[in-house]
Symmetry: C2
Subunit: 196 residues, 2 copies
């Protein structure tokens, strides 16, 4: 009985789940183990100022897995300041996109990790809040930083596993999240300017 259960479990574990193509995910991991240079990626965004605090970014392509890849369509996003901040609200404020990146990164990891662990998810929602004191960016206080002072993320997860196992999946995703790492640990940013 134990052997049968183990066999069933193993088969279950490797099948696609949560919309994740688990066999291909494991095959990709194996390929990268053998050729670590394939794991070097470069993502990029080009941005054009529109008017006032409104600008628009394009994400078209990136480099990785040894080559250049196009997104299946060009993604374009506006950002702006709200009227309260003397903008025209043509898009969210730039800092809101950081919260979107955090939610999406941890959520993608949750789906992948759950699939790899044979857990079927039924719902994952999250709410991310960032506290910021605008006296920093407005230059009204030297004691106030420019960016968020604190970010809080709350995940609600439902699936066919005990609560403890679901919590471990979220924790593993957080521990392996690229966006969580960047936001909590920071990254060197080099800024160059061509002026004419």
């Amino acid at each position: 009985m134990q052997a049968v259960e183990t066999k069933v479990e193993t088969k279950k574990d490797r099948s696609p789940r949560n919309g994740v193509d688990t066999p291909t995910l494991f095959a990709t991991l194996d390929a990268l183990k053998g050729q670590p240079e394939l794991a070097k990626f470069q993502f990029r965004v080009s941005n054009r100022w529109v008017r006032g605090t409104n600008s628009r970014s394009r994400m078209e392509s990136f480099t990785g897995a040894g080559g250049e890849h196009a997104h299946k369509r060009v993604f374009e996003y506006d950002a702006d300041h709200h009227a309260v901040l003397v903008g025209t609200d043509e898009g969210p404020t730039p800092v809101e996109f950081l919260l979107h990146g955090l939610a999406a990164c941890i959520t993608a990891g949750i789906a992948n990790i759950a699939a790899a662990r044979g857990v079927t998810l039924t719902e994952v929602t999250s709410r991310i809040e960032g506290d910021i004191d605008l006296r920093g960016i407005l230059g009204l206080s030297k004691d106030v930083r420019n960016g968020y002072q604190k970010i809080r993320a709350t995940f609600d997860i439902k699936g066919d596993a005990p609560a403890e196992k679901l919590r471990e999946i979220v924790e593993q995703s957080r521990a392996r999240s690229a966006v969580f790492d960047v936001l909590t640990n920071g990254v060197p940013v080099e800024v160059a300017v061509n002026a004419a």
Copy 2:
């Protein structure tokens, strides 16, 4: 002659420019100087997992300037992994949104600062690149971080001021950018989980 020029300059400096309502911007600064509690903002995003690595975020409202404010419409954005990363590319990867936030934040600041300094801009474009080694998030190497290892931003700026003044505007915007601060210095992120 000097006095006249100064007068013209002063008048010019305070007029709206670059699509920035400069008088209102200065009035807002004055209001915040007098009531610093108005500068406390909370931005938020809610996210729902869709399928696989695809999730969708909503930005609807935020708190600040002593009250609750709605965006003029609900903004919704998908994020996903590309097929190369075993996703379905329904949106950019989460880490690409960090680059969008950086470009948009510095660009909004450039427009505001140029307006405050009486400089009319004709074009601001930027290109942001982020290098990442996916062995980190995939757990294939303990020596590789999860997030970007380096971000490079290049701004091209044109306007009715000498190149040096235009460069100073970009530099001042970088120095006061909320997103630049968060990305380079990091921020505490608290993650809570409700599992069922």
